[in-house]
């Protein structure tokens, strides 16, 4: 007989006036190779069809299923129940607006972030469909891709002390995004222009260096290195600003 798992899951449906936030316990028999994706779907199909949670690719690629699993933000799709104790507690990610139960609104948060960081290539060059592509060094392309691997699951934001204290802090995902464009030769923005976006408490100076962002990142992105990189770059920029003003 395999283990009986006891899952305590946060329940609250803001659209139902009868609903009060509470924890609800579900018991489920563990099966071979069970992930939280399998477990939560089984609970929904067999025990409580109203249970809200988000999955999309269920393969660790899209970032939909970020949640707090036994106290730690992570992706539910690639969390295997055999790596967890028999008592499992699931909570929605903090910082993001709650939609219901384990489902949160990461979309609005990230869309606001794109707007703030102007997350696109800034260039005056026009595309010429008759010309060959501009050349790029392969290593440079690989370095950019390395930072573009962020899946916007929100785990780094949910684990961030500063983000939990102040709503206007951009967080590791946003700083990583800025670093991605800063190293892209196709982007014409000057360091001064980047400084205007992140050279403040909402950006690079807000981080308290608790390192949780990098600890919980399911894609193992070098988030703290990026922060260090930006601080060095921006430090020089702010010095230059002092001497030229």
């Amino acid at each position: 007989m395999s283990r009986l798992l006891k899952l305590s899951i946060f329940r609250y449906n803001p659209e139902d006036e009868q609903s009060e936030p509470h924890m609800q316990e579900f018991v489920l028999e563990e099966t071979d190779s069970m992930t939280l994706f399998i477990a939560l779907n089984r609970i929904r199909e067999e025990q409580d069809p109203s249970l809200q949670f988000d999955f999309c690719c269920r393969a660790g690629i899209c970032g939909s299923c970020g949640m707090v699993i036994n106290g730690r933000p992570g992706l539910a799709c690639h969390t295997k129940t055999r790596d967890l104790p028999g008592d499992i507690t699931l909570l929605p990610l903090p910082v993001f607006k709650l939609v219901g139960d384990l489902s949160v609104d990461t979309g609005s948060w990230f869309r606001e972030m794109y707007t703030k960081t102007e997350s696109w290539i800034h260039t005056k060059k026009r595309f010429d469909p008759t010309a060959l592509e501009d050349r790029m060094d392969n290593q440079q392309a690989v370095d950019i891709y390395e930072l573009e691997r962020c899946i916007e699951c929100g785990c780094c934001i949910a684990a961030c002390g500063t983000a939990r204290l102040r709503a206007d802090f951009m967080g590791a995902a946003a700083l990583n995004r800025v670093a991605r464009f800063l190293i892209d030769p196709r982007d014409d923005r000057t360091e001064d222009e980047y400084y205007t976006i992140i050279g403040n408490d909402m950006g690079i100076f807000g981080c308290m260096g608790l390192l949780a962002c990098e600890d919980v990142c399911p894609k193992h992105l070098p988030l703290q290195n990026q922060l260090g990189f930006l601080r060095r770059k921006m430090g020089i920029t702010s010095l230059k600003r002092l001497f030229t003003s």
Binding site: S50, C56, C57, I61, F110, F127, P129, R135, M136, E148
Partner: protein
């Protein structure tokens, strides 16, 4: 009820939808994409391998051009495609790849000099040219004469999706995420937008538009084992089926991918085989080269999937508690390659299987992967049957894939078709005036509200949503799989007719309030079962084998009688069967039907002439 107006409304915010939206926005039109999830979570982002375009930069792609790409695509389709469309696609693909580079995609680039590569488990050497340094690199994929697949490691879809969504933000395309379209507003002549359900609150919204596009991806989730994301459930297709006037094209053409991992059916990219990975059986012996001496593991997906299934039937499968499977071996590619160019594969294997592919074999089996069928459109992307309705990407049957799609051609199709059709839509919108009939809008909304109320109060019955869905998936799995027979398909059709009847009697167990997920599943269930019947019935009627459609009782490709496309309608909501019609597969033959060069070659010829 809130009402939103926009010039151009896209149902779906994956690559095809966003690419078309960018064209319309660039032409000055207001554009909104509706999406079940934030745009970057779209299933486009899960595409690992790459995009085919005949840039010919790599030494292994030398001499490549749109003609060769076109020929590969037509052969891949088993002559089931529209050759005019395949030509449009092959010609535009190189320009689109360069445009994506301009917008910010970090394509892997040519590194000049000596490097090694693998084919069929053996090591070879190649020397990339100095004068191509820094141009977009390509890798090998199945069914192609040249290395043509442009890539960003094995996260191509993700990288292109990020760039496309950035571009949308830049040009002012709005994405309304957590929004699910549930019905088209239409009068059987023109489409005026959709009724949608907000997945933040559960409220219904009205979206009015001059042009509406279905770009919601595939519908693999109507099968039980699929590589598709959970959002690829055909919900948007069901809106079109419900109109009675918009046909679905070639629904029986369902692609099974050779390398879904066991047991979760998560895909590992064809790039594994493209980069030299091999398939092994229970004795850890290679077998594909015996069936296909020329192409071996790199024949097209329909062919490889079929031989794998055949080989397991012959008793060479690996037994496991999840049924039989085979092995994918990439160990010889080495740690650097696997953790670099195949990193997603490495992560999938370690995270989901506990297998280290540098040292261990990967358990794989063919699993449902791609829907060649979909909303039938003309070459401009305009849906048959309704003015103002368009479709693109996997959701559409445009139809450049015919009965089998080549790897790397779907991700390329999203942006290429999105671009071509987006420009056509911008032309359509130019000078287009519409009158919105308030009565029609009110009636459509009221009808949807009534459906919801009936489901909540169990007015039509209390059949369990998830059980009916499982019955549908089970019927398809048993009867409309890789190998098909008359008996199997007849049984499948009969059980699906029962399932359709049950789907009409579904009622919720929960209270249906707010963003109720049971309600979301229930609203699309009847439409899904109708689509399942279109697959099974279309397959039963098509008495030949072509591409992914493989009849054991009709093994020849019959060009004399079946060089055509199935159009499936659900003409009246109370019908118990779809209505099938047929049209010529292509009106133009640049390449008359012939041998593909892989797979079987039993052909009943047609009398067609080259244009």
């Amino acid at each position: 009820m809130q009402t939103v107006y926009t010039d151009f409304l896209v149902v779906g915010a994956g690559l095809a939808g966003e690419r078309a939206a960018v064209e319309a926005a660039d032409a000055g039109f207001s554009t909104i994409c509706l999406s079940l999830v934030p745009a970057r979570r779209s299933h486009s982002s899960a595409a690992q391998g790459g995009m085919q375009a005949s840039l010919g930069n790599s030494v292994m792609g030398e001499g490549d051009n749109p003609d060769v790409h076109f020929a590969d695509t037509v052969k891949g389709s088993d002559w089931g495609c529209d050759q005019e469309v395949a030509r449009l696609f092959a010609d535009a693909a190189p320009i689109e790849m360069r445009r994506l580079a301009h917008w910010g995609v970090p394509w892997n680039r040519v590194v000049p000099g000596k490097s090694i590569y693998y084919k069929g488990g053996k090591q070879f050497e190649k020397i990339e040219a100095e004068d191509k340094e820094g141009l977009i690199m390509a890798r090998s994929f199945g069914g192609t004469a040249k290395w043509r697949t442009c890539y960003t490691s094995d996260g191509t879809g993700h990288a292109v999706m990020c760039t496309m969504d950035n571009r949308c933000a830049q040009v002012g395309v709005e994405v309304h995420d957590k929004t699910e379209a549930i019905a088209l507003i239409q009068d059987e002549e023109t489409c005026y937008g959709v009724i949608a359900r907000c997945l933040r609150t559960g409220e219904l919204w009205t979206y009015l538009s001059k042009a509406t596009m279905i770009a919601a991806g595939g519908f693999g989730r109507i099968y039980p084992n699929t590589t598709n994301a959970v959002i690829c459930d055909g919900g948007a297709h069901t809106m079109c089926v419900d109109t009675g006037v918009v046909p679905m094209g070639n629904m029986e053409a369902v692609q099974f991918h050779p390398t879904g991992i066991v047991p979760t059916d998560i895909l590992v990219t064809e790039g594994c085989r493209g980069d030299g990975g091999t398939l092994l059986d229970a004795n850890e012996k290679r077998f594909m080269h015996e069936y296909e001496p020329e192409k071996a593991e790199l024949a097209s997906r329909d062919v490889v999937s079929r031989w794998m299934t055949h080989h397991m039937r012959e008793g060479h499968g690996v037994k496991s508690s999840y049924g039989e499977h085979l092995w994918l071996d990439i160990r010889h590619l080495g740690a650097e390659h696997i953790t670099g160019k195949l990193r997603e594969v490495y992560e999938i294997c370690t995270s989901f299987l506990g297998v280290d592919p540098i040292h261990q074999l990967i358990p794989v089996r063919p699993t449902q992967h791609y829907s060649m069928g979909g909303v039938r459109t003309n070459k401009d992307g305009a849906a048959y049957g309704l003015k103002g309705l368009f479709a693109a990407g996997e959701a559409a049957c445009w139809d450049m894939h015919g009965f089998n799609r080549l790897g790397g051609n779907s991700l390329a199709e999203t942006v290429v078709a999105g671009g071509i059709i987006g420009r056509k839509i911008a032309e359509y919108l130019q000078g287009c005036e519409t009158e919105f009939k308030t009565g029609l809008i009110r009636d459509t909304a009221a009808c949807q509200q009534a459906r919801i109320d009936d489901l909540i109060t169990c007015a039509n019955g209390s059949e369990n949503v998830y059980r009916v869905r499982a019955a549908m998936q089970d019927a398809l799995h048993k009867g409309a799989n890789i190998f098909r027979t008359q008996d199997g398909l007849e049984t499948c059709v009969a059980s699906l007719q029962e399932v359709v009847a049950r789907a009409r009697n579904v009622g919720l167990r929960s209270n249906g309030r707010g963003v109720n997920p049971e309600l979301a599943a229930a609203l699309k269930l009847e439409g899904q079962t109708k689509m399942a019947l279109m697959i099974a019935y279309g397959a039963l009627m098509r008495t030949e084998s072509r591409g992914s459609h493989n009849r054991e009782d009709f093994t020849a490709r019959n060009d004399r009688d079946w060089l055509n496309r199935t159009l499936a309608y659900w003409k009246h909501p109370d019908d118990t069967m779809p209505t099938l019609e047929y049209e010529a597969a292509t009106s133009v033959f640049e390449i008359p039907p012939g041998d593909r060069g892989y797979g079987k070659s039993e052909i009943i010829s047609a009398d067609v002439t080259k244009e």
